[in-house]
């Protein structure tokens, strides 16, 4: 749940604000609130989560009330309202993926990383969670890694192990 008192000060770089301006220009005059979802994605790509202070700044930027940002950020499941691992793994756990072994992949990740769903590993590198259908049912089990949302298909326990090793070596 959203804790409004949780304030992590953030600064928006001029590059980020330039991206904001580009997004805002896509909508007719007076309808700039439409930029809200894309802006939240941009913030999350930058900070790997969406702190409340960033939401306040977005509200200021779009000239809307902070509550209008909070209600959106809490409604949609993609926005992380608390810090995640550097690599946030999201495994599809809906019907078709479960027919081909998604549940095993989830429990394997829990063992492999030594953390429960939603927790971050001690080195800060990984967190994972089960998410609902990612629209890749024919290639299941699948997982995606934010913030780039790179996609991994036809997972096996061995391919998950390799993926984790690769990511560890990369960082």
């Amino acid at each position: 749940m959203l804790k409004v008192e949780e304030q992590t000060p953030v600064a928006f770089s001029s590059e980020l604000l330039a991206k904001f301006d580009d997004v805002k220009s896509r909508y007719p005059e007076g309808k700039q609130k439409s930029a809200l979802l894309p802006l939240l994605h941009l913030v999350q790509a930058e900070f790997l989560w969406v702190p409340t202070s960033a939401m306040d700044k977005i509200a200021e930027y779009l000239n809307i009330q902070p509550i209008e940002v909070y209600e959106v950020a809490t409604f949609y499941t993609m926005y992380f309202l608390k810090p995640q691992g550097k690599y946030a793994l999201e495994v599809c756990r809906t019907g078709p993926c479960c027919l081909v072994g998604a549940e095993k992949i989830l429990s394997h990740l829990e063992n492999k990383l030594g953390v429960k769903e939603g927790e971050v590993t001690a080195d800060g590198l990984f967190s994972f969670r089960g998410v609902e259908c990612l629209a890749a049912c024919g290639y299941g089990p699948v997982l995606q890694i934010s913030p780039e949302y790179t996609f991994y298909e036809n997972l096996t326990e061995a391919s998950v192990d390799k993926l984790i090793e690769d990511l560890k070596n990369k960082s």
């Binding site: 896509r26 007719p28 309808k31 609130k33 439409s34 930029a35 809200l36 979802l37 894309p38 939240l40 994605h41 779009l62 209008e68 209600e71 959106v72 409604f75 949609y76 499941t77 993609m78 926005y79 756990r93 809906t94 019907g95 078709p96 479960c98 027919l99 081909v100 998410v131 609902e132 259908c133 990612l134 629209a135 890749a136 049912c137 024919g138 290639y139 299941g140 995606q144 780039e148 949302y149 790179t150 996609f151």
Partner: protein, 455 residues
């Protein structure tokens, strides 16, 4: 080989680039539409084609377009629904990944037909790679003069933008999508007014699925009449089917509507049969929301005739013995799969995705999830099955949007066709934790109904 309209060139290297797409005849429909046809003529061609909405509802696209209000001095919008989230459906992802210009070309023609000067493609947020692909393709098209001001010197202006969603199944419902595009929570609106009268920013709006919009391209190139010759009856044209589950070759296939279901599952041209040499137990033919059918009713109608992949044949027999084509998300279950567990899984999905506006859906989906969890984990009672039936009936038809129905139907159909499997879980609470009920008689051929003499 059946006829391909959307995926004809899918295996051509570089078809995702404007250059190769053009070499294969791409953007001909834009030239034809903008230079030789009036918007009314395009709408007429789409009407003649018999194209029905490919997102799931199957409403005739041309008719939807003709409802669009055209008040003087008010902007009109075309919004493409690429919020593909229905479990079992992944065709739009495929199309956008491999042949993005097909969607962009369709968007230009359709926007011209509807008189939209600004159009949006609302893509589910998880599909960031596809969003990047589309944005690149749009930039290519714009640089080549297919988008922007005065396209092909015809005086028609169009800007096309990609809008990411935030991860909410409900935004696939068109009014929830519009709310989301306006930067709000995805709560469906009460209809009327329909989007054709008051949609995005209160302006007349058409919302169409990715595949519907891409299908406009061959319709304009070859004419609506030619398109209508493909398919069967009122199911005209081709359809992308997303095949998943326990199949030898899951994936996206373009079929001519009217293909026998049996051929789709077992022929090597399509899914190649059930994986690991197992037998088919059940299918969900059109995405998780449509009724689940046992193998025998999947392959044959109640009267013993072959069931076809078409809007009419799949729904033959109503919900008693039929299902729906829906979005074309075809999920196959082999003999080792547990219907109770899958129904519980789907119920959890709908509970998770309910927006919370309507009490029957908000509360009912949670109840169904809990009761199904209880049965699946060996704590169910016989009354629970009746309770489930009762809850789903109280959700269906009692909500603003169809998510309530979509949550109720999988539960209702699972009990209708697989009640003995639910009861086995209750009678065998220990055994059911380590064993599966198996295929039972779900694949037993249906006896052809005896012909009775008319008196």
């Amino acid at each position: 080989m059946s006829r391909k309209l959307l995926l004809e060139h899918i295996n051509v290297p570089g078809i995702n680039t404007l250059e190769v797409y053009r070499q294969k005849g791409g953007y001909r429909a834009v030239e034809k539409a903008l230079k030789t046809l009036t918007p009314e003529e395009i709408v007429e061609e789409v009407k003649k084609s018999g194209l029905r909405g490919r997102g799931g509802a199957g409403f005739p696209t041309g008719m939807k377009w003709s409802f669009l209000a055209k008040p003087e001095g008010v902007a009109r919008y075309l919004v493409c629904n690429a919020d593909e989230s229905e479990p079992g459906t992944f065709k739009d992802r495929y199309l956008m990944t491999y042949i993005p210009h097909a969607l962009i070309e369709g968007m230009i023609v359709s926007s011209f037909a509807l008189g939209a000067k600004v159009s949006y493609i609302y893509v589910r947020g998880e599909m960031m790679p596809q969003i990047r692909i589309l944005e690149k393709a749009i930039a290519e098209a714009k640089a080549a003069g297919w988008l922007g001001k005065n396209i092909l010197g015809t005086g028609y202006d169009l800007e096309l933008y990609v809008q990411p969603g935030g991860g909410a199944y409900i935004c696939g419902e068109e009014t929830a999508l519009l709310e989301s595009l306006e930067g709000k929570r995805g709560n469906p609106r009460i209809k009327p007014p329909f989007p054709a009268i008051a949609g995005l920013y209160g302006c007349p709006t058409v919302v169409n699925n990715v595949e519907s919009i891409a299908a406009v391209v061959p319709i304009i190139n070859d004419g609506g009449d030619e398109y209508a010759k493909i398919g069967i009856g009122r199911s005209t044209g081709t359809k992308l089917i997303s095949a998943s589950g326990n199949l030898v070759k899951p994936g996206v296939y373009e079929i001519e509507l009217g293909l026998p279901v049996e051929e789709f599952i077992y022929s090597d041209e399509y899914c190649g049969g059930i994986a690991n040499g197992k037998r088919l137990k059940a299918t969900v033919a059109g995405g998780s929301s449509v009724p689940v059918l046992p193998a025998n009713l999947t392959l044959k109608l109640a009267n013993g005739e072959p069931r076809l992949m078409s809007y009419e044949s799949l729904s033959e027999g109503g919900f008693a013995t039929g299902t729906m084509l829906g979005s074309g998300g075809f999920i196959a279950f082999d003999e080792d799969q547990c219907i109770v567990r899958n129904t519980w899984n789907f119920s959890r999905f709908y509970h998770h995705e309910s927006c919370g506006q309507c009490s029957p859906c908000r509360e009912g989906t949670g109840w169904m999830e809990k009761v199904l969890h209880k049965i699946e984990h060996g704590h169910g009672t016989m009354e629970d099955v009746d309770l489930l039936w009762d809850i789903q009936r109280k959700i269906e038809g009692n909500t603003i949007c169809p998510l309530g129905d979509a949550a109720a139907w999988p539960v209702a159909s699972a009990i209708r066709h697989f009640r003995d499997e639910f009861e086995w879980h209750i009678k065998e609470p220990v055994k059911s934790q380590s064993q599966n009920y198996g295929i039972a008689n779900y694949a037993t051929p249906i006896e052809k109904a005896p012909v009775t003499e008319e008196k």
